[in-house]
Amino acid sequence: MAEAAVQSASSVDQNTAEDRPWVGRSIERVEDAALLTGRGRFIDDLGTPPGTLHAAILRSPHAHADIVSVDAEAARRAPGVAAVLTGEQVKALTSSLVVGVKAPVECWPIATERVRYVGEPVAVVVASDRARAEDAIELINVEYRPRAAVVDPLAALAADAPVLHDGFPGNLASDRSFSYGNPEQAFAEATHRFSIDIRYPRNSCTPIETYGVVATYDAAENAYDILANFQGPFSIHTVISRALKVPGNRVRLRTPPDSGGSFGVKQGVFPYIVLISAASRAVGRPVKWIEDRLEHLTASVSATNRATTLSAAITADGKILALDWDQVEDCGAHLRAPEPATLYRMHGNLTGAYDIRHVKVRNRVVVTNKTPTGLNRGFGGPQVYFALERLVQRIAIGLRLDPLDVIRRNLVPANAFPYRTATGALLDSGNYQEAIARAVEQGQLAELKARRDEARAQGRLYGIGFTAVVEPSVSNMGYITTVLTAAERRKAGPKNGAQATATVALDPVGGVAVHVASVPQGQGHRTVLSQVVADVFGLKPQDVRVNTEIDTAKDAWSIASGNYASRFAAAVAGTAKLAAERIAVRLARIAASQLNVEPADIMFAGGFVASKRNPENRIAFSRVAALCHWSPGSLPDDAGQTIRETVFWTPPELTPPDDQDRINSSLCHGFIFDFCGVEIDRTTFETRIDRYVTMHDCGTILHPGMVNGQIRGGFTQALGAALYEEYAYAADGSFLTGTFADYLLPTTTEVPEPQIIHIETPSPFTPLGAKGVGEGNCMSTPACIANAVADALGLADVTLPLVPAKLADLVRGPEPEPPTGQSKAAPTREGDRRLRGEGRASVNGAPEQVWTMLLDPQTLQAVIPGCEQVHKVSDTHFRADVTLGIGPVSGRYRADVQLFDLDPPRAVTLRGKAEGALGFGTAEGRITLEPDGKGGTQLSYSYDAAIGGKVASIGGRLLDGATRVIIGQFFAALARQAGGGAPASGISMFALLAKLASLFGGRR
């Protein structure tokens, strides 16, 4: 490819606009040259200490089961293996992770005694390399005793639901009710009441780089040195040190220079930090673990799914008087800190962009047999706004109003800022009416409506959706305590604020260095900070070197440090500005004395410190900056040092919840108004986004290019959540979307370019006037697309993701009947994922003969392919080891079969299971034998089978099909064998079961 010199836009800009501030310009990013040339430094790119070992994790195939035994002897003896740690050993080295609510419940980074979700760690193998660690994993034999599982949050609350933790009776981890204003009266007086029931699905932002940890235990000082692509909040540091049973100053947590995306997700690496640290302690060597993609999808972390019933009290003209929220939050199998934060992050914002004074809330948190939840872009916003904005559309339809009119009618008035919401948030600034007016005009809503009319006139399925959303940013570290009662809070002590830290330092030749504890994952923090600080000192961004790595042993940090809640622009960048300004004030004093002017007359511009009145009277910035190093004695007495300044900044607005449970959960509140036009294909029911308009008010824009980048990125993830992405579970807790071929991320061919429009109302509460912007579309877009789809199809209820088959089933009329004489559809899989079916076969032998075959284990070994050992436990109970394969897929299984309800020679029930590295299968079958009158036997069978574990999560597409094929083949073989008069053949349910379990849908 042709050459060209590296040329940065900043140098181009410079000639044209010397005096324009850097902030607000889309300069090229300092991060990019390294990333574009393969010189990024992500965690797996960094060298490890000599002698580092590698970990692999054995994970549970069951959603809920007791661990009866773990036999790791063979694994311990395997080549290259240093250690195998089970729950017991990890437990001995650590203490339980903090649980999000006060309850007698423990939470370990590895299963102890019981597994509660598919993918939960069961053992850790530490070996010389990853491949050998994985080899050894396969040698570990775990015996499980399965328990019933529950995956639905409402089902988990049922009286007879299986209970995950004794300390959470009825699976209920928290149940709080709140009332603000007088909702009862409002509902009583309202003309209308509208309600909506929502099931918000599970999904995750799945960064392309997975988790990574390198942990080193220092026995001499009983301390841990940990490198992890953790993203904060660093409140988790306290959780880690507590779990590792050392004081915080003995946990040195470092982050790599680059991180391959996070979107909240990399907060969830912390249980692995504890696990791998414990492993390092056990083996006395550094241990490295890089999560693989299957592990990530199955067991890293996900957003919460939530069941919500939302009701609104409405006046005749569509004004919302009151809301009644009933939210059941599903946090998965463990309530890991900081959960149930997803539920409370939005607590101050439950009225969205609307002026609603009466609110009733019931918040319940439940545990289910799914992966524990954690931070994910949008964090509670998608769940809340999907309910609220779907309801607004319902109200409009119910009252025959334009949805946009209902939105407009209820907006917080433009002159009401700062506006205190009913539930306690202080909306800092905004002009929602103006924002909407501009979006409607610039986004050409009128034209879009005409398009809809035209499309509909042609019989096409076209709809328009709207959403208005307040995007909170800079979380109050105290919001989570809203889960406690006021009395409990008093006892626990206050929690609030959002400490941001920034350090600005000048070196002996006047170079400027900035350090912040912001841990970016691609958001270009280094670039923006160089702009911010360059403006303060009158320098160019290139003159400012920024470091955003964290080393908790050396750097200024606090519990709020990290990259989440869109806090960078609003809090961190502002704090860096404050730090730079503190130094600038001192530099001004020094320069003033050198230039013989008043400090008030000093300005910083073009690399000089100069007199405003007489710019010729100036001194090079680097000279003044270096002075404090070389000649502190010549500084004015009261100037103070200018070498290094660290500022801690927390906004006073972030107070703890008050006694009425009002909480200002976030500092800043951006505004988003979206509308879109979608068309649904009549054949395929695929949703095509025709046009998407998104209006943002994120306060002052620091870097337009990056702001738009955040919006597009968030929009794309939200598009995925709306149309493609779901962490799907079967009713038995099997995880069904364990590869990138099943968990579908949008690609270039699915993502349109949204039209982005801005309006800026600066936040009065942040140093730069900026607000967060990264999460808004994750909150607004799913609801906006769903509203448009509901409009297109005339549906009252739509559930995400908007899978074409699901939409088709909602809209299409009855199916054409099969031609006469042809059987109807195949047995469909029930919601519980058990596969049922039946069939029959003709066998030449008499029923008595067939019966003997069925019960004869002796011949099994000879006839079942891959059968290595048959062990007869009793006349009706067999165990065997079998190796089986379908196509290229093969695996080894331990099978166990019992016979019941024997009715010789007429009928028998077989029940059994098989378990191996690729998964497990259970099945029950009833076989009946009837003489066919010609000396042969008519054999009929019915079965009921289920498969779980790895095969289910990575082969979902082909699994059911393969299962049925095998069952059919098995009985066909039975018929063949019997017909040929051969001795009893592989007619054992366990062969069948093992075969079932060996199936995989060979997708990619």
Binding site: Y724, D742, P818, A826, I886, P888, G956, A962, G1001, G1002
Partner: protein, 271 residues
Amino acid sequence: MKPAAFDYVRAESVNEVLEGLSKEGGNARVLAGGQSLMAMLNMRLAKPRLLIDIMRLKELNRIEEQAGVVTIGAGVRQAALLAWPELARTQPLLARALPWVGHVQTRSRGTICGSLAHADPSAEMPLALIALGGEVHLRNARRRRRVAATEFFLGMMATARAEDELIEAVSFPARAGERCAFREVARRHGDFAIVACAAVATSKGVRFAVGGVADVPQARDWPRLDGSALDDALNGFAYELDARDDVHATARYRRDLVRIIGRDLVREVLQ
């Protein structure tokens, strides 16, 4: 996600391949483009003792046209076939279906024969083979044989290839699919098909083939049908395919697509 250990042979002649296969049988796997096999190895779904890499064998890397019959060797990558200038003229259905196989980055490595050997029920190449009535050329250390498309696919990921056999090539009959139509519905661009349909005009009428629904792609030969006769035929076929639910689509949805797309495609080729 690292493969279990295996031996590796880069074959320097077809005989080496056949020798390896006959010695190791089911414990050996042919490594072609690796676009399906390697992922299964990484996931440890497959744990062969020996991999035999056939991709440096010049004699397998041939596309030949003889009297209109197009024969594609085991070493021919999907991208190479797509770039073959004679493709659209000789095998228009392949030209239409190939761009639906994965992505540019997988077609550049994956082979036509590897896709047939893998026999994914949603894959496009097996569907094309069934629709066009092609033949698979198999060979072991002792003999060569040819298997017709309809006999080759036995079930999901199961074929008539014996463990010691190499698929040497696949051939597509002359002038098959001169008038043809192809359409696929997948969740996203480049995904395996939820339903893929191909229609080919025949001397008597039309052959209509469907992939992604049953365990193997299936075809029906019909006279020139139209109106409700066509609808009935499609409806019957849709039910016979015994569609199933999975995470991406329901059985009913699949049957609907067979009926609707089928009608469009059959009409298109019969026009």
